[in-house]
């Protein structure tokens, strides 16, 4: 299998030079009640590379991802320790406004979850609540731009006022990406964005991620290793709540340093 992987790597884009980290996590521990789901993870996410989190089910990928925009706040039992910064600012500081944080760190979920409103309203919602547009015209511009960036414009431009839920799964997921883009985030977190999609839709999303790279810091959780290999430049391998290995994607897949990583990517478990 390892050879198959390596083959895929060849298609992959080259690694961008190491850059100033956009977000940093230091010794992050997350607890659900008494149960520790993340055990001291430190990681840097930079602007120019797509970072992939891989690991077997239940290892804490989603949990960790959600600490990055404090979506874990919505889980009553969840408790986060350690330090996470965005542009050097501690996002768990009391002075941090969560609402603003989430506008800056957007999120795309596993299952496409458009609002049961029109396509237009789906995109316009974020700019509206954040006061990014004052006139209808501004909003129109934002909607078009976001849909274009999400690669959905051509498919939906004639039916902007149809319901977002009437789109196909892949279109819905691109709509959600467009919705996240519309508030001009700095970081986009994606939690298994393709796992509910068919291969063609998946290919589209992967292509989109390529295009968005550089403009936003992107973190993507996946348990499809081929996908990680295809879309990311850096890969973090989680196991049982620990960050086992973090490095350049091609290194991780071709030359893992840790035994556990190797076992995982060669399919011994997971």
């Amino acid at each position: 299998m390892v050879t198959a992987m390596t083959a895929m790597m060849h298609e992959q884009q080259t690694l961008a030079p190491a850059a100033e980290p956009k977000m940093t996590a230091r010794d992050v521990r997350v607890f659900y009640g008494d149960k520790q789901a993340i055990k001291g993870v430190s990681i840097d996410v930079d602007m120019d590379n797509v970072t992939a989190f891989i690991g077997p089910s239940g290892c804490g990928k989603s949990t960790f991802l959600r600490t990055l925009n404090r979506m874990n706040d919505t889980v009553a039992s969840a408790r986060v320790e350690g330090a996470i910064t965005l542009d050097g600012e501690d996002i768990y500081a009391p002075s941090m406004d969560v609402v603003q944080l989430r506008a800056r760190v957007g999120m795309v979920f596993q299952k496409p979850n458009p609002f049961p409103k029109s396509i237009y309203e789906n995109i316009a919602y974020g700019p509206r609540i954040h006061g990014l547009a004052h006139a209808k015209a501004d909003l129109d511009v934002i909607v078009e731009k976001s849909l274009r960036r999400a690669g959905l414009w051509d498919e939906v431009k004639d039916r902007l006022h149809d319901s977002g839920t009437a789109l196909s799964g892949g279109q819905q997921q691109r709509l959600c990406i467009g919705r996240a883009i519309a508030v001009e985030p700095e970081v986009i977190l994606m939690d298994e964005p393709c796992s509910a999609l068919d291969p063609i839709a998946t290919a589209k999303i992967e292509e989109l991620i390529h295009e968005l790279r550089g403009r936003y810091a992107i973190v993507i959780v996946t348990h499809n290793m081929q996908q990680a290999a295809r879309v990311s430049q850096r890969t973090a391998f989680f196991h049982l709540g620990e960050l086992v290995e973090y490095g350049v994607t091609s290194d991780i897949f071709t030359n893992p340093k840790q035994e556990r990583t190797k076992d995982y990517i060669t399919g011994r478990y997971g």
């Binding site: 406004d97 609540i129 954040h130 006061g131």
Partner: protein, 464 residues
């Protein structure tokens, strides 16, 4: 200045506050946004508007609410001081009636004077009301301006107006939800207090275990001893609500649910389910009327025809039967839910073994759904024993301890109504007994519900 004018004025002020604060926020934020820092701007301008508007309206509103309670007293003081008031009669009620009338005329709520004395007081009233109305309005407006101004100075691009406004919203929601506790406490307090007084006259043991119920004789002054034995009432309640009604409702409800969920075609189900639910929508007074006028006489004639002794025109059976019919939809919808909650795989498993549908239902679905069905039945029982109108209209008042369904029995709720409507005797044990009965009813239905919900919940969890 009348109340509505003040109200309109304040509303206007609030609107102005909203608009101007919003405009200011918009302007300031435009500048701040240009600076490029994202957290330079916090809340949408609208939130600033709301923040300032609330500060404008709330203090003034609270003041007005207080003022509305204080001012009439001040007005009356004023009027009483006027020369025309000297002629008022001394007795309180006529006096306040005259004053009230004068005020009604002064405020235009009444056209002419019924009492000549009040005519003279209209002018003083008008003056006093005008004076205090004006004072109140002036103070309220001052407060509105003060509040608004304070809030307005806080409008800055990074001011967290949204957080403040939302905090108020949250507080409102919390207060609303506390009302449920207040109501519960109100019920418990009123029941406990009156029951306590009752039990200081009648021993709780006599009440709970005594077999003779004749509050009438207690009221006639023959003493409270053995007049308040509630066992016949409890028996009547159980006989009608838990035995006869359930004997109707359980088989019919359960079998209807089974038929509609397992056998009926979708069309039949679509029509029959709401039809049966309509049984629950018929008001109980209609059932009562129906039971008393149609069912009870028929049952009595029947009983007499087959020679049953002691058949009464307000038989337990008539009330119980009709109540059972009313309960059918409760049982059937609970049974429906419980059966639907049994996973389809269970049904498939049994059918794939070669079981017939009825075997599957009887041997797999019902046993699996049993806790839910039992919970539903308990809820239905609790509903039946608390049901009032059917028994008030169709069951009797004779506190009999009998097993004969054609005889007349009485129930807890019937007696509560009897004791409290009409016969409001002097603070006798008799009136208070209604509250003691209410307390028992409350506790029993509470326990039934707690148990039922437990059972249902536990069972639901088993399949989740």
């Amino acid at each position: 200045m009348t109340g509505s004018a003040t109200f309109l004025l304040l509303a206007g002020l609030g609107a102005i506050a909203w608009v101007s604060a919003r405009a200011r926020a918009l302007r300031l934020q435009g500048a701040a946004r240009a600076s490029g820092r994202r957290d330079a701007v916090h809340s949408l301008p609208g939130y600033h508007g709301w923040y300032v508007a609330l500060w404008t309206l709330m203090p003034a509103g609270i003041f007005l609410a207080v003022w509305a309670n204080v001012a009439p007293g001040l007005v009356t003081q004023d009027v009483l001081g006027s020369p025309a008031a000297q002629a008022l009669p001394a007795d309180d009620f006529s006096r306040s009636a005259i004053l009230g009338e004068a005020r009604a005329i002064a405020t235009g709520m009444q056209a002419g004077a019924f009492n000549p004395l009040s005519q003279g007081l209209v002018e003083p009233y008008r003056d006093a009301i005008g004076k205090y109305g004006l004072a109140g309005t002036a103070l309220a407006i001052m407060l509105a301006f003060a509040g608004g101004a304070y809030a307005f100075t806080r409008v800055r691009p990074d001011f967290r107006a949204r957080t403040r406004v939302e905090r108020l919203v949250m507080a409102t929601l919390l207060i609303a939800s506390l009302l449920a506790i207040v109501t519960t406490l109100g019920i418990v307090a009123s029941l406990l207090w009156e029951s306590f007084r009752f039990f200081s006259m009648v021993s709780p043991l006599d009440f709970l275990f005594g077999a003779k119920w004749s509050p009438q004789s207690a009221a006639l002054g023959y003493g409270n001893d053995d007049a308040f034995g509630a066992v016949p009432l409890f028996w009547g309640t159980i006989f009608i609500g838990a035995i006869i009604a359930m004997a109707v409702a359980i088989p019919l409800g359960l079998m209807s649910a089974i038929y509609l969920t397992q056998y009926a075609s979708p069309t039949v189900r679509r029509w029959m389910k709401p039809t049966l639910e309509m049984l629950a929508g018929v008001p109980t007074v209609v059932y009562g009327y129906f039971a008393a006028l149609t069912i009870a006489p028929a049952l009595r004639d029947f009983a007499v025809a087959i020679g049953i002794h002691g058949a009464s025109s307000e038989s337990a059976l008539a009330a119980g039967l009709v109540m059972g019919v009313m309960i059918i939809p409760f049982v059937s919808s609970m049974a429906d839910d419980s059966i639907a909650a049994v996973p389809q795989s269970m049904r498939d498993g049994s059918l794939a073994m070669g079981a017939t549908t009825s075997e599957t239902i009887r041997r797999v679905l019902i046993p699996a759904a049993l806790p839910g069905v039992v919970g539903g039945v308990l809820l239905a029982v609790s509903r039946a024993i608390g049901e009032t109108m059917i028994v008030v209209m169709a069951a009797g008042l004779a506190a009999n301890l009998t097993l004969n369904p054609f005889a007349s029995v009485t129930t807890v709720t019937t007696q509560i109504v009897q004791l409290l409507t009409g016969d409001q005797e002097f603070d006798s044990a008799k009136t208070l007994a209604a509250f003691a009965l209410g307390l028992v009813l409350f506790i029993v239905t509470l326990l039934l519900n707690i148990v039922a919900l437990r059972v249902v919940k536990k069972y639901r969890e088993a399949y989740d």
